[in-house]
Protein backbone atom coordinates (compact mmCIF):
# COMPACT_ATOMS: atom_id res chain seq x y z
CA UNK A 1 0.00 0.00 0.00
CA UNK A 2 0.95 3.63 -0.40
CA UNK A 3 1.47 5.51 2.88
CA UNK A 4 1.71 9.20 3.71
CA UNK A 5 3.06 10.11 7.14
CA UNK A 6 2.37 13.36 8.97
CA UNK A 7 4.83 14.04 11.78
CA UNK A 8 3.73 16.73 14.25
CA UNK A 9 5.76 15.49 17.20
CA UNK A 10 8.98 17.28 18.10
CA UNK A 11 12.09 15.11 17.82
CA UNK A 12 13.39 16.83 20.95
CA UNK A 13 10.58 15.93 23.34
CA UNK A 14 8.82 12.63 23.72
CA UNK A 15 8.95 9.64 21.43
CA UNK A 16 6.68 10.58 18.53
CA UNK A 17 9.30 11.44 15.92
CA UNK A 18 11.39 8.31 16.50
CA UNK A 19 8.25 6.19 16.59
CA UNK A 20 7.39 7.60 13.17
CA UNK A 21 10.87 6.79 11.84
CA UNK A 22 10.64 3.22 13.12
CA UNK A 23 7.13 2.94 11.70
CA UNK A 24 8.40 4.09 8.29
CA UNK A 25 11.16 1.49 8.37
CA UNK A 26 8.75 -1.26 9.38
CA UNK A 27 6.23 -0.26 6.71
CA UNK A 28 8.92 -0.39 4.02
CA UNK A 29 10.01 -3.74 5.43
CA UNK A 30 6.49 -5.06 4.91
CA UNK A 31 6.64 -4.07 1.26
CA UNK A 32 4.70 -0.82 1.48
CA UNK A 33 5.57 2.38 -0.32
CA UNK A 34 5.87 5.71 1.47
CA UNK A 35 4.80 8.54 -0.80
CA UNK A 36 6.14 11.23 1.47
CA UNK A 37 6.85 12.08 5.09
CA UNK A 38 5.55 15.56 5.85
CA UNK A 39 6.84 17.33 8.95
CA UNK A 40 4.63 20.08 10.32
CA UNK A 41 4.53 22.25 13.45
CA UNK A 42 7.04 20.99 16.05
CA UNK A 43 7.73 18.04 13.80
CA UNK A 44 10.02 20.11 11.56
CA UNK A 45 12.79 19.91 14.17
CA UNK A 46 13.62 16.52 12.63
CA UNK A 47 15.42 18.38 9.84
CA UNK A 48 17.60 20.56 12.04
CA UNK A 49 21.15 19.92 10.87
CA UNK A 50 22.64 21.78 13.81
CA UNK A 51 21.00 19.67 16.53
CA UNK A 52 23.46 17.65 18.59
CA UNK A 53 22.23 14.59 20.46
CA UNK A 54 23.95 13.28 23.59
CA UNK A 55 26.36 10.43 22.90
CA UNK A 56 24.81 7.04 23.45
CA UNK A 57 21.30 8.30 22.73
CA UNK A 58 19.23 8.23 19.58
CA UNK A 59 19.89 11.04 17.12
CA UNK A 60 16.52 11.63 15.47
CA UNK A 61 17.90 13.85 12.69
CA UNK A 62 20.52 11.26 11.74
CA UNK A 63 17.92 8.53 12.02
CA UNK A 64 15.62 10.19 9.51
CA UNK A 65 18.50 11.12 7.20
CA UNK A 66 19.80 7.55 7.23
CA UNK A 67 16.34 6.20 6.49
CA UNK A 68 15.94 8.62 3.61
CA UNK A 69 19.32 7.69 2.16
CA UNK A 70 18.66 3.96 2.31
CA UNK A 71 15.12 4.05 0.96
CA UNK A 72 15.05 7.17 -1.17
CA UNK A 73 12.39 8.62 1.11
CA UNK A 74 11.01 12.07 0.49
CA UNK A 75 11.17 14.12 3.69
CA UNK A 76 9.46 17.51 3.53
CA UNK A 77 9.48 20.23 6.17
CA UNK A 78 6.53 22.62 6.09
CA UNK A 79 7.97 25.96 5.07
CA UNK A 80 6.08 28.18 7.50
CA UNK A 81 6.72 25.85 10.47
CA UNK A 82 10.38 25.63 9.45
CA UNK A 83 11.01 29.34 8.95
CA UNK A 84 9.75 30.40 12.34
CA UNK A 85 11.91 27.78 14.01
CA UNK A 86 15.07 28.91 12.25
CA UNK A 87 15.19 26.08 9.74
CA UNK A 88 16.44 27.50 6.45
CA UNK A 89 17.84 25.88 3.33
CA UNK A 90 19.85 27.80 0.71
CA UNK A 91 16.75 29.11 -1.04
CA UNK A 92 14.98 30.35 2.08
CA UNK A 93 18.18 31.76 3.58
CA UNK A 94 18.64 33.84 0.43
CA UNK A 95 14.99 34.80 0.36
CA UNK A 96 15.03 36.07 3.93
CA UNK A 97 18.62 37.35 3.82
CA UNK A 98 19.95 35.16 6.61
CA UNK A 99 23.42 33.71 6.91
CA UNK A 100 22.66 30.30 8.35
CA UNK A 101 21.61 27.22 6.43
CA UNK A 102 20.28 24.87 9.05
CA UNK A 103 18.32 22.21 7.18
CA UNK A 104 19.90 18.79 6.83
CA UNK A 105 20.36 17.93 3.12
CA UNK A 106 18.20 14.81 3.47
CA UNK A 107 15.21 17.12 3.92
CA UNK A 108 13.57 19.61 1.66
CA UNK A 109 11.42 22.61 2.52
CA UNK A 110 8.02 22.72 0.89
CA UNK A 111 4.48 23.98 1.12
CA UNK A 112 1.45 22.31 2.64
CA UNK A 113 0.34 21.49 -0.89
CA UNK A 114 2.77 18.57 -0.69
CA UNK A 115 0.87 17.22 2.31
CA UNK A 116 -2.40 17.68 0.46
CA UNK A 117 -1.05 15.86 -2.58
CA UNK A 118 0.43 12.98 -0.55
CA UNK A 119 -2.84 12.58 1.36
CA UNK A 120 -4.80 12.49 -1.89
CA UNK A 121 -2.58 9.75 -3.33
CA UNK A 122 -2.18 7.60 -0.24
CA UNK A 123 -4.07 4.47 0.76
CA UNK A 124 -3.10 5.15 4.37
CA UNK A 125 -2.33 8.32 6.27
CA UNK A 126 -0.76 8.03 9.71
CA UNK A 127 -0.32 11.02 12.03
CA UNK A 128 2.37 11.11 14.71
CA UNK A 129 1.66 13.71 17.36
CA UNK A 130 3.56 14.51 20.49
CA UNK A 131 2.52 16.02 23.75
CA UNK A 132 1.46 19.51 22.81
Amino acid sequence: MNYALLVLASPFSGTGSLTAARFAEAALGRGHHIARVFFLDQGVGAGMATAVSPQGEADPVARWADLAARHDLELVLCVSSALKRGLLDDTEAARYEREAHTVHPAFEIGGLGLLVEATAQADRVVTFGGSA
Binding site: A9, T15, G16, T19, R22, A27, R30, H32, G130
Partner: protein, 97 residues
Protein backbone atom coordinates in the same frame (compact mmCIF):
# COMPACT_ATOMS: atom_id res chain seq x y z
CA UNK B 1 -13.08 0.92 11.59
CA UNK B 2 -10.65 3.32 13.19
CA UNK B 3 -7.26 2.72 14.78
CA UNK B 4 -6.93 5.12 17.71
CA UNK B 5 -3.38 5.84 18.82
CA UNK B 6 -3.03 7.36 22.27
CA UNK B 7 0.20 9.14 23.11
CA UNK B 8 -0.62 11.00 26.32
CA UNK B 9 -0.81 9.99 29.99
CA UNK B 10 -4.13 8.72 31.37
CA UNK B 11 -4.86 12.00 33.18
CA UNK B 12 -4.91 13.88 29.87
CA UNK B 13 -8.41 14.73 28.61
CA UNK B 14 -7.58 13.23 25.20
CA UNK B 15 -7.82 9.73 26.66
CA UNK B 16 -11.35 10.43 27.88
CA UNK B 17 -12.30 11.85 24.49
CA UNK B 18 -10.88 8.79 22.80
CA UNK B 19 -12.83 6.48 25.11
CA UNK B 20 -16.12 8.22 24.53
CA UNK B 21 -15.66 8.11 20.76
CA UNK B 22 -14.45 4.52 20.38
CA UNK B 23 -16.81 2.54 18.23
CA UNK B 24 -17.37 -1.21 18.33
CA UNK B 25 -14.78 -2.75 16.06
CA UNK B 26 -12.22 0.01 16.60
CA UNK B 27 -8.72 -0.73 17.90
CA UNK B 28 -6.60 1.24 20.31
CA UNK B 29 -2.80 1.38 20.38
CA UNK B 30 -1.05 2.95 23.36
CA UNK B 31 2.21 4.76 22.56
CA UNK B 32 4.63 6.93 24.50
CA UNK B 33 3.05 8.11 27.77
CA UNK B 34 -0.14 6.43 26.62
CA UNK B 35 1.21 3.08 27.79
CA UNK B 36 0.45 3.95 31.44
CA UNK B 37 -3.22 3.41 30.66
CA UNK B 38 -2.34 -0.29 30.41
CA UNK B 39 -1.12 -0.56 34.03
CA UNK B 40 -2.91 -3.51 35.64
CA UNK B 41 -5.37 -2.37 38.28
CA UNK B 42 -5.39 1.26 37.17
CA UNK B 43 -8.64 3.11 36.60
CA UNK B 44 -7.63 3.83 33.01
CA UNK B 45 -7.03 0.13 32.35
CA UNK B 46 -10.49 -0.68 33.71
CA UNK B 47 -12.06 1.94 31.44
CA UNK B 48 -10.14 0.63 28.46
CA UNK B 49 -11.26 -2.92 29.20
CA UNK B 50 -14.87 -1.78 29.43
CA UNK B 51 -14.64 -0.09 26.05
CA UNK B 52 -14.61 -3.39 24.23
CA UNK B 53 -11.94 -2.18 21.79
CA UNK B 54 -8.97 -4.34 20.83
CA UNK B 55 -6.15 -3.04 23.04
CA UNK B 56 -2.46 -2.88 22.13
CA UNK B 57 0.69 -1.31 23.56
CA UNK B 58 3.86 -0.57 21.65
CA UNK B 59 6.59 -2.82 23.07
CA UNK B 60 9.50 -0.37 23.27
CA UNK B 61 7.44 2.33 24.98
CA UNK B 62 5.89 -0.11 27.45
CA UNK B 63 9.31 -1.55 28.28
CA UNK B 64 10.83 1.91 28.72
CA UNK B 65 8.04 2.87 31.10
CA UNK B 66 8.24 -0.27 33.22
CA UNK B 67 4.72 -1.17 32.22
CA UNK B 68 5.53 -4.37 30.33
CA UNK B 69 5.68 -6.49 33.52
CA UNK B 70 2.51 -5.00 34.96
CA UNK B 71 0.30 -5.15 31.93
CA UNK B 72 -3.47 -5.38 32.39
CA UNK B 73 -5.14 -8.53 31.07
CA UNK B 74 -6.37 -8.34 27.54
CA UNK B 75 -3.74 -5.87 26.32
CA UNK B 76 -1.53 -7.27 23.62
CA UNK B 77 2.00 -6.16 22.98
CA UNK B 78 2.98 -5.17 19.47
CA UNK B 79 6.22 -4.14 17.81
CA UNK B 80 6.70 -1.69 14.96
CA UNK B 81 5.66 -4.30 12.42
CA UNK B 82 2.58 -4.95 14.48
CA UNK B 83 1.80 -1.22 14.42
CA UNK B 84 2.05 -1.25 10.62
CA UNK B 85 -0.12 -4.37 10.52
CA UNK B 86 -2.78 -2.51 12.53
CA UNK B 87 -2.78 0.29 9.96
CA UNK B 88 -3.20 -2.32 7.24
CA UNK B 89 -6.26 -3.74 8.98
CA UNK B 90 -7.79 -0.43 10.09
CA UNK B 91 -8.00 1.90 7.10
CA UNK B 92 -7.91 5.15 9.09
CA UNK B 93 -6.19 6.35 12.23
CA UNK B 94 -7.01 9.03 14.76
CA UNK B 95 -4.03 10.26 16.78
CA UNK B 96 -4.71 11.38 20.36
CA UNK B 97 -1.85 13.14 22.11
Amino acid sequence: MVLHTVNCPPSHPALGQCLRLLAPGDALLLLGDGVYAALAGSRAAAELAASGAALHVLDVDARAAGVLERLADGVSVCDDEGFVALTERYPRQQAWY
